[in-house]
Each structure stands twice: as structure tokens, then as C-alpha cells.
């Protein structure tokens, strides 16, 4: 059994590595593909609302939509400046 495993591992060719890498990258691309069209707009407006209270940069906000079984979860990450620090 061990010998067989060894032989199999030996035979792991670059094409298999390529396939594994592609499966991951393509899955990622597809998750982005399915994002609704309103996401960029939503992101911009959320940023405006936050800016009414705190001055943050464009890239301080990160938004993503993850699909679960029966609902979607909107994840919003905002990096706020350290208190007292003027921006």
C-alpha cells in the first residue's frame, strides 16, 4: 500500500498541479461573477454614510456577499482611523 502511494505521488505531474490551481481560481472568479450589479453602488453609498461620521478612505471599506444555503450574508469591513488621529 505504502509503495503504491509512493508510486502515485511520484507520478503527480505538472498538469495535475495546473488543474488544482485552476479549480481554485475559477471557483473564485465565479463567486465574483455572481455578485449582483448593485454591489459597487451599494459600496459607494455606504461609504458616503460612514463619511458623515468618520473620515475614512475609499479603500478602508471592504464589502462582500457570501451565499449560504438559504440566504446571503453581506459582510462589511470598515477600517476606522485610530481615535484622536485627524484624517
Amino acid at each position: 500500500m505504502k509503495l503504491l502511494d509512493f508510486l502515485k505521488r511520484e507520478r503527480k505531474k505538472t498538469a495535475n498541479v495546473a488543474k488544482e490551481r485552476l479549480q481554485i481560481i475559477v471557483a473564485h472568479q465565479r463567486s465574483q461573477r455572481d455578485q449582483p450589479d448593485y454591489m459597487p453602488m451599494l459600496e459607494r453609498e455606504l461609504l458616503e454614510v460612514i463619511r458623515k461620521y468618520v473620515q475614512v478612505d475609499q479603500d478602508a471599506i471592504n464589502i462582500s456577499l457570501d451565499r449560504e444555503d438559504d440566504c446571503s450574508v453581506l459582510e462589511l469591513n470598515v477600517t476606522l482611523p485610530r481615535p484622536g488621529e485627524k484624517n
Binding site: 488543474k19 481560481i25 475559477v26 472568479q29
Partner: protein
């Protein structure tokens, strides 16, 4: 009413123009009135592959800008009567293409032809998006190589969102996978992605498999689409591809190493 088929890929240099020329030629040889359009504005090449570069007078942009009419710009293929070429402009920049302009041309061609083949430029920008926008079907040209496969996936994403059919909610663009420059020996050696892996990753149906072939370079040298070279593997593979586009079932060829082993030779036959 013509079917509009875009030949696209995302990545450059994978064989779009070779395939557009070969497929258009194959469709015309099967009796379909066919026109093939070069959308690669600024970098036209289809005219060379089709062997009509010295007969280009007007081009796609001239027609869009009203400097020539469609009839003046269409070039009749010198080998097949029912095949026409609409060349791209060599001098203008890409912005000369407008969606309205392209639409007008396609609507006019639709009336007169059975097939309109659009040879897309590389990339996912404006030119590529215009080439696919009005398509009914898409041939996604992919090489067995990571960056080509990834780019094909991006293009498949655009086909399902940035086309007229997607935007007005009509039935989606029919997608076909065309694997080109396939090298069975390297696949068997484990250093080239095999066709089932590529199909599995992209999950669109296979319309053809074109082997890496010396015949392609010979064909482009002469300006004779490789479909005319029916002794060659690539020429035969494109004919198979065309048959499948026409809805026929054709078994796959050229995906295995040519078995001219000692055994095969001893017992005669042994042709792939």
C-alpha cells in the same frame, strides 16, 4: 436569418483568427452563405489568413462611418463563392467601433447570410465585448494551459452577462468549447492539461479539438485556411468541428497519440 457566432478567448494568440477562418471556410464549403468579420481594429490579420490582403479596399470602420457601403467593403473569397470577408481597419483606433454601427451592419448581414462569424480581438475590453455583444453562439478558443483556461472562464462570465441576449433576458448565448494546439504526447506525459480536465473546469460542451499541427503555419504562410488542407489533422479536425456546429454527431479524433507502435505495424492497419 443568419446565426451570429463569435470566436473569442480572452487570452491573445490562442488561435481565434485561425479558427474563425477555418470554421467560416468549413461552413461555406458545406453550402452555407457565410461572412467572417474581423473585429480586431488596428491589428487586422484575418485578411492575411484568408489570403485576401491585397484586395482590401474598404473596411468595417469605413462602413460604420458611412464612407463606404457594406457591398463595397465585403470581399468575396477567391475559392468559395458563398464566402465573404469583412476586414478590420488597420489605421483607426478601436474607438471607431460603435455598438450602433456594429448593430446596423449585423442586421444587414443577417438578412443575406446563413452564418456571420465574428473574429474577436484578445482581451475583455470594448473590442472583445462588441464582437460578442450580438452573438447567438460563441466558440471559446482555449489552449491546454493555465492562463488560457482562466481567461476563457472570464470570457464565459462576460457571455452570460454582457451580451444582448443576457441583457434583454432572451435565451442565453450558446457556448462551445474549442480546444486548440492540443498535444496528445505531452498530455500523456502528464505535462499538459487533458481535455476532460479543461472541460470539467470550464463546464461548457466541447465542439472540437484541434491538435498542434504544422499544417496551420503552412496554411497561414499561403493565406489558405487550413480547412482546405484535408490531408492534415488540423484541417480534418476543423471539418469535424463545423459538422458539430451544424448539429451532427461526430466522434472525437486526434486526442490520442498516433499509435504507430511496433505491434500496430506488425499487424497492419494501426491508423489512429
Amino acid at each position: 436569418m443568419a446565426k451570429i457566432i463569435v470566436v473569442t478567448s480572452g487570452k491573445g494568440g490562442v488561435g481565434k483568427t485561425t479558427s474563425a477562418a477555418a470554421i467560416a471556410t468549413g461552413l461555406a464549403l458545406r453550402g452555407n452563405k457565410t461572412v467572417v468579420i474581423d473585429f480586431d481594429v488596428g491589428l487586422r490579420n484575418l485578411d492575411l489568413i484568408m489570403g485576401c490582403e491585397r484586395r482590401v479596399v474598404y473596411d468595417l470602420v469605413n462602413v460604420i462611418q458611412g464612407e463606404a457601403n457594406l457591398k463595397q467593403a465585403l470581399i468575396r473569397d477567391k475559392r468559395i463563392d458563398n464566402l465573404h470577408i469583412l476586414p478590420a481597419s488597420q489605421t483607426r483606433d478601436k474607438d471607431a467601433l460603435t455598438q450602433e454601427g456594429v448593430e446596423k451592419i449585423l442586421i444587414a448581414l443577417r438578412e443575406d447570410f446563413d452564418y456571420v462569424i465574428c473574429d474577436s480581438p484578445a482581451g475583455i475590453e470594448r473590442g472583445a465585448q462588441l464582437a460578442m455583444y450580438f452573438a447567438d453562439e460563441a466558440v471559446v478558443v482555449t489552449n491546454p494551459e493555465v492562463s488560457s483556461v482562466r481567461d476563457s472562464d472570464r470570457i464565459i462570465g462576460l457571455l452570460s452577462s454582457k451580451t444582448r441576449r443576457a441583457e434583454i433576458g432572451e435565451s442565453p448565448v450558446v457556448e462551445h468549447l474549442l480546444i486548440t494546439r492540443y498535444h496528445p504526447a505531452r498530455v500523456t506525459g502528464g505535462d499538459m492539461l487533458n481535455l476532460t480536465d479543461i472541460q470539467e473546469i470550464l463546464s461548457i460542451p466541447l465542439i472540437g479539438l484541434i491538435p498542434e499541427s504544422d499544417a496551420v503555419l503552412r496554411a497561414s504562410n499561403q493565406g489558405v485556411p487550413v480547412t482546405h488542407d484535408q490531408k492534415s489533422d488540423a484541417g480534418q479536425a476543423y471539418v469535424d468541428c463545423v459538422s458539430r456546429l451544424l448539429g451532427e454527431e461526430v466522434p472525437l479524433r486526434f486526442h490520442e497519440i498516433e499509435k504507430r507502435s511496433l505491434l500496430a505495424r506488425m499487424f497492419g492497419g494501426g491508423r489512429k
